[in-house]
Symmetry: C2
Subunit: 415 residues, 2 copies
């Protein structure tokens, strides 16, 4: 079994150095790491194939298989992600605020690394490189715990990244992988509070619930996305069909995919047959309430569970409402605070929706698929936060930092 305390000590030992590396040194190391990944693409794909074969034998769903797979293009994208991170401005040391108090003491609020970040994730090996890049750029050491499904892929990626650090004359322990994937090790990792400042779970709702239940380390919940598109009575119906088709089918295994359609009763007759015709192209199964079934008799009847479900598959639930208020209420009841969309030409209704919906990202006439650090222009992302503490929505570099106050004076004491 992995000696987690040893990993914690390794990370602690490199923390001070990482915190003080110059932007130039970090960026050079990131580009070198990118080059090494591309150079080792064949090795990475060969190791990934071992994981893919096991996953196929175990009957993994198509959505999850898609997440697991490494291709030359995806490795290029990983490397490009690291290069993009190198291009981004360095925020460590930034003076966020500076002010003076009446007693003459000067206060500066300065951005600093978190310290050591732990990441627990499932079958997405690209997270390994992303996580390293973002944590390294922000002066953090990272300890990764990937899923058993991606073990060979992750071991290979981490090996390449550690070798690239050594080549750059930097400490390999800036990135460490926990090689044991059993539950006991995972739970012990969640309690490594002495060494880990922040724990980020990425993966299924079950994984995230387990981290929330067990962790004593501060957590940022990420990723579970039961995302809705609401088609208002004043919607441009062509636009609505396009947005739902995109949000549902462009990539099904991702958290910002649409899982549920909410439709205003006034447009259901005009809209639902057009939508059904389009979704048939991708064989999307539709599960609707009674008023949807009146229009689409072939539709599967939806249960209460359907409205709460993140399918990550070619399935869509459909709910009819009689007002935008009812849509807001329905969505706030069933959503996971991730990404929600209204399609309408009515500005007032849109404003009501944007204000009333409790979610990280609320869209007006835009596909929910854009909830993503790259799409937001953050250069990359470590995950999509669905909690309200510290970070919400796509998390980029700044979300991996903290701050401290530096106060200077000439002997001030409190009266």
């Amino acid at each position: 079994m992995t000696d987690l305390n040893k990993l914690g000590q390794n990370a602690a030992a490199v923390k001070s150095l990482l915190q003080t590396l110059s932007p130039e040194v970090k960026n050079k190391a990131l580009c070198l790491a990118a080059d090494c990944l591309v150079k080792e693409a064949e090795y990475l794909i060969a190791e990934n194939r071992k994981d893919m074969e096991t996953a196929e034998q175990n009957g993994m769903s198509s959505g999850l298989l898609d997440r697991l797979k490494l291709t030359k293009e995806r490795i290029e994208a990983m490397a490009e992600g690291l290069r993009q991170i190198a291009e981004l401005p360095d925020c460590i040391g930034e003076v966020m605020e500076a002010f003076e108090r009446p007693n003459g003491m000067k206060i500066r609020k300065v951005r600093v690394p978190m310290g050591v970040i732990g990441i627990i994730y499932e079958a997405r090996p690209n997270v390994t490189a992303d996580a390293f890049g973002l944590c390294f750029k922000t002066g953090n050491a990272v300890i990764l715990k990937g899923g058993s499904d991606a073990l060979y892929s992750n071991l290979a990626i981490v090996r390449v990244l550690r070798e690239s650090l050594a080549k750059a004359g930097l400490p390999e322990d800036a990135i460490q992988l926990i090689a044991d994937t059993d539950r006991q090790t995972t739970v012990a990792f969640m309690r490594l509070k002495q060494y880990v400042d922040l724990l980020i779970p990425r993966g299924s709702a079950r994984l995230i619930a387990s981290v929330v239940e067990n962790s004593t380390i501060p957590v940022i919940e990420t990723g579970t996305g039961n995302c809705h598109v609401y088609v208002d009575k004043d919607a441009d119906l062509d636009m609505a069909v396009n947005i739902i088709y995109n949000a549902k089918t462009q990539r099904i295994g991702v958290c910002n995919a649409c899982e549920s359609l909410v439709v205003h009763s006034a447009v259901r007759e005009a809209f639902l047959p057009r939508l059904a015709a389009k979704l048939r192209e991708k064989k999307v199964e539709m599960r609707g309430d009674e008023r949807v079934l009146e229009i689409l008799p072939d539709c599967v009847p939806a249960t209460e569970e359907d409205f709460a479900m993140e399918y990550l598959d070619y399935i869509l639930s459909l709910k009819t409402v009689d007002s935008a208020e009812e849509a807001i209420e329905h969505i706030n009841r069933y959503n996971t605070k991730h990404s929600e969309c209204i399609v309408t030409e009515n500005k007032d209704t849109a404003e009501k929706f944007l204000t009333g919906i409790d979610a990280a990202c609320v869209y007006w006439n835009v596909s929910t698929r854009f909830t993503d650090g790259f799409e937001f222009g953050f250069g990359a992302e470590i995950g999509i936060s669905t909690q309200k503490l510290h970070a919400r929505g796509p998390m980029g570099l700044k979300e991996l930092t903290s701050y401290k106050y530096l106060i200077s004076g000439n002997g001030q004491v409190r009266g």
Copy 2:
């Protein structure tokens, strides 16, 4: 036993309304609440006296008794705190960032309330009014769980505050107090994740450890302060005596009080006798390492535990070091990441200390007693965060908010 789900539902029911109250309505309600507290001072002091008598009978320490006590002046200060909060700018709805992406979608990052905030605290009844004021101003509902030592005081304060809300025509459930103070209720409260967005413990190290251990709600750790003052070889020794005297004795029962002195060996002979003479005025017990004992033979020998202790009493531990680096190492090993101070006239040494120390607030030639929301000019404070996630150091209004992204476009889909 309190029906915590009911309390959660009550808070949830007023959440949307609180979120949309205008600044004027909120500020008027805060001033009315302040007036009511002052008007009811005699009632509050009478109720507080019940708590004080029990506490004295139970042999509560002088530091804790000081925290518990309500006086006319402290009630005025509570009311003044609420009025100051009313004066502060309203940050809810603030557009924190606005940008457009190449595909034409417009993204706004907008400040929103957390929603429902839970606060678990011990024998400081002034927290009750502070917590209400800050949470209400930021559009949050608050559920409070005070200590059994302050039960009568807290019931009285919450009663006055709820009555003031009713007078203002606003929902009383903006503030709720859990009247049961048993451990079972407290632990159940820590798991009310369905309704509570953020949990803030304020109190002893033991309370905070219990919240970290048991909570499934995101937590901000606050308050435990094993604060150090390091007297460098280049220190102005008069300033050093003043700062330590202030940081140690001005108010002993608070988290930003100095608990430990670290002294450079080169100045121990010149400095320690002067310090001892000054601290004798307040009968401070000094516990030193061997090299301190050489200079101050009357000093109690310090143990390893002394260096890790938050005394909250007239006791000071003393450690000798041979360099600023050794001081930094010692402090980073034993501190609670709260407030640390260097006294030196050497700018380079000061910069090394400010960078190297891992704490929310690092002081150069200023007393640690200034780590406080009022002293920082935040208008009030809900606590001092000692963690790195979300908020660090004194927490004012903005630290009680989250944000969401609002994205608008004209039919953008992801390619």
